[in-house]
Symmetry: D2
Subunit: 143 residues, 4 copies
């Protein structure tokens, strides 16, 4: 199965605002391509935990969002996929700054999609976290 | 190394309020024992996502909190450990209700602690999510 | 969906010998019950790595086998499931001895099954490794 | 901490043959660079499972080996690190052919190293498996 990109950044944002109002309130899609996405999480003080670093749950939400955007670009508006698995390694303390997530999809099957997400504090060249995420694709999806 | 429990639920809550104000605002420690904890996440409407289920980030935060509480009981107030790895499988849609996390520690070493967390919607007998979490223990900890 | 156990240990061994000759050559099913299994990996010198501990790949194979046995007990002979995800934490050096894997299934859905596996060196009361495993269930399975 | 590469492919193979005879018997180091490695697992019929695909344990061993080689290149001969965590997603059935593992290190700290491994059947442009691996670095290592 050779997939082609179906939605661009504007179409994804529009769709998400429709089906999940508020989901993209704290995220910006910077780029979407075939099997990949770049999503920015602008800095907000409420994301900090003691010590002045971005909280773990914020990074987990960013990983999940980056994967979701990359997947929507490929499967389109047909169906609402749900996260079935997420794992994350916290590598470096993320500074109080924007965090950018680069997602690469490794598989978009009929039932599962799997991708890796690397997250970087703005301006850094080594990631503050890595994540891999699996989405379950509903059976209404025809591929 | 044979560990014994050092802190009870009240001492853990007091310590967390000191070092991380607000961390336990949305969680209740129901029980703490040697190498285990039970933590409740009372239902709040802002935790819902479209479809009326508890959001994934809420469950991830609960898993992390359950593990943190179980670990603090064993290593005490000496040092602030940080999450280094978390993985989670979403198994069933969690109803709009309290979620209870049962954590079992499998290892508390000098440098790493590892545990499993099973999360249940209140009243259900099968888990809505499973998670395993690794904490890095700072080198100031003497065991 | 309320599942009941379909196969006992003897029926599982017979089925595995049929569809995957050799798969159980180095493993013994000690117990199978609803949503759980106990599988023993008898000690063999070729499983050792330098330092005299059981190798990581041996433990990963044991985790996968324990999960497979527990799953077959529930879904029966209908269909050959395949591992889609496995993660493992190595907790303690496993002695040159038998290793026993206790598997608990948390979900057997129409498409995915998820379980946890705890592995113990024979005679030890703390696990040498923990694992969680996901199997993809083929669409021929009717539940 | 800015690390530089300490060992090349020949030095790594020599070291591994010394400390773990046989470890590289079934693997070939194709390339090693700063924070990365490419390791080939030449096809051998005993790696097949029914259905004619490369077995899961073979891929897990390859992931672990790819990470080990990449890490040794950076930390050198000083100390023997051990795997503390490995997770793997099986994405596509690997053909009866060589499998090539591309490892990228995301962190080499004083105590932990974390990397991602993508595995490809020879000639394919999409991976048959993805893995992330964590190694614990012994305290004798000075960085």
């Amino acid at each position: 199965m050779k997939l082609e990109q179906r939605l661009d950044a504007a179409a994804i944002t529009e769709f998400l605002n429709e089906v999940f109002p508020g989901a993209m309130e704290h995220f910006t899609i910077e780029a979407v391509g075939p099997m990949c996405s770049t999503v920015r999480m602008p800095f907000q003080p409420w994301r900090l935990r003691p010590g002045g670093t971005i909280s773990g749950p914020s990074l987990m939400t960013l990983a999940d969002t980056g994967m979701w955007v990359a997947l929507l670009a490929m499967i389109g508006r047909e169906a609402l996929s749900v996260t079935s698995h997420l794992d994350i390694d916290f590598l470096r303390k993320p500074a109080p700054a924007d965090v950018i997530a680069h997602t690469t999809l490794h598989k978009v099957g009929k039932r599962l999609a799997v991708g890796d997400v690397l997250m970087y504090s703005d301006g850094e060249d080594m990631p503050c976290a890595r994540s891999s995420v699996t989405y379950a694709i509903p059976s209404s999806y025809r591929g």
